[in-house]
């Protein structure tokens, strides 16, 4: 067992290298496999639903789940309202910049000023 105090920069260096390797493996091999082979039609049809499912999952995780993997029961009302506002802005304007900027302003007002 190592602690922060005993972890040297060399340990950190190896940590970065190992993390880079485990990060690279799932990014590279599926991509390589499916770009080199004929992709079956059902696979493409299925993959069409992957991005939207993943984006929703990431949003739900950051709005409703805390860092200990428990459902947030308080303190996230500002984020929920901001998320709805962003969804509305995105639907109406189709502008990525507007969605992000208005989302950030709204969450700042709700969380930092109103504390909800």
């Amino acid at each position: 067992m190592q602690s922060v105090s005993s972890m040297s920069s060399l340990d950190h260096f190896w940590l970065v290298i190992f993390c880079a390797i485990v990060a690279f493996i799932p990014r590279f091999f599926p991509l390589l496999f499916f770009t080199k082979r004929k992709i079956p039609e059902w696979f493409n049809e299925w993959m069409r639903f992957v991005p939207v499912s993943l984006f929703t999952a990431l949003v739900v995780k950051s709005v409703f789940i805390d860092s200990k993997y428990q459902v947030m029961t308080s303190g996230n009302l500002g984020m929920i309202i901001s998320a709805i506002i962003v969804g509305f802005i995105a639907f109406r304007t189709r502008s990525m910049t507007l969605s992000v900027v208005i989302g950030l302003v709204s969450v700042m007002i709700f969380v930092l000023v109103l504390h909800i």
Binding site: F18, F33, F49, V50, A57, V86
Partner: protein, 255 residues
């Protein structure tokens, strides 16, 4: 799109919203890594090699609670497994590319630049793999510079993480809305949300994201197949109204 606009500028314009939202998050990440004992050089290295906000936040917080190295690497592995899905779903747009291209493309792919590229590939037939690679490199540049600056500023900066993190949440909400093409997609989103909460709480790891995504997307696929085969007039297959009237939501016809 403006005429005669050089390629690098056009791609930069595409990646700009992402790049700007990376600045506060990258700063925060650099500050945290600095607090966890990383020096500036290592912060730069991890930003380039790992290039994932979630992963770098996780490493910083694990280091501050004295987690052993093997635990951190194992958690990283589960956290990064979702990239297998990203790669698989982009692969049909990258067919015929050479091995070095695939290697470097995979190396710098993450949630956010994947989102930008998937949307461009799905809506813009002119979008080329080389431009997708440029998107990755621009976002990598924004990310790494922000991390280094954060690391240099160090503790002089106090940051509310939940606020900063919301920039990415907003980005993903936008992406999800842009991907919502039929009523069935809305159903898949709802299902994915419920499954995400269930599996994250159950599994206590981001692997729950992978399971929820797999189940929700498979359900969507099977419902669509059943409907097209047996009930093609179903309301679920209706297109979602686009208030701007742009054709950006239309599927590419060469699928």
């Amino acid at each position: 799109m403006k005429k005669n606009e050089p390629n690098w500028l056009m791609v930069l314009r595409t990646v700009m919203p992402l790049g700007l939202s990376y600045i506060p998050i990258g700063l925060a990440c650099g500050v945290l890594l600095h607090a966890a004992g990383f020096n500036h050089l290592l912060t730069a290295l991890i930003s380039v090699l790992v290039f994932s906000g979630g992963a770098q936040f996780l490493i910083a917080s694990m280091l501050t609670i004295n987690a052993p190295m093997t635990t951190i690497i194992l958690m990283m592995f589960f956290l990064e497994l979702r990239y297998a899905l990203l790669g698989s779903s982009l692969s049909r747009y990258l067919k015929g590319q050479r091995l070095p291209f695939i290697f470097f493309f995979a190396f710098s792919m993450n949630d956010e630049n994947y989102a930008v590229n998937y949307l461009k590939f799905a809506t813009d037939k002119q979008w080329k793999p080389s431009q997708a690679m440029l998107v990755e490199h621009y976002s990598l540049l924004f990310w790494t510079v922000s991390n280094i600056v954060g690391s240099l500023i160090g503790s002089a900066l106090t940051i509310n993480l939940s606020v900063v993190d919301f920039a990415l949440t907003a980005l993903f909400i936008y992406m999800a809305i842009m991907q919502t093409k039929s009523r069935l997609t809305i159903l898949v989103c709802a299902l994915s949300g419920v499954l995400t909460i269930f599996f994250l709480v159950l599994m206590k790891s981001t692997l729950g994201l992978v399971v929820a995504t797999l189940l929700a997307s498979l359900t969507g696929y099977f419902i669509e197949r059943q409907l097209i085969a047996h009930k093609p007039e179903s309301h679920l297959l209706y297109k979602v109204h686009d208030p701007t009237g742009h054709s950006a939501m239309e599927e590419d016809s060469d699928k």
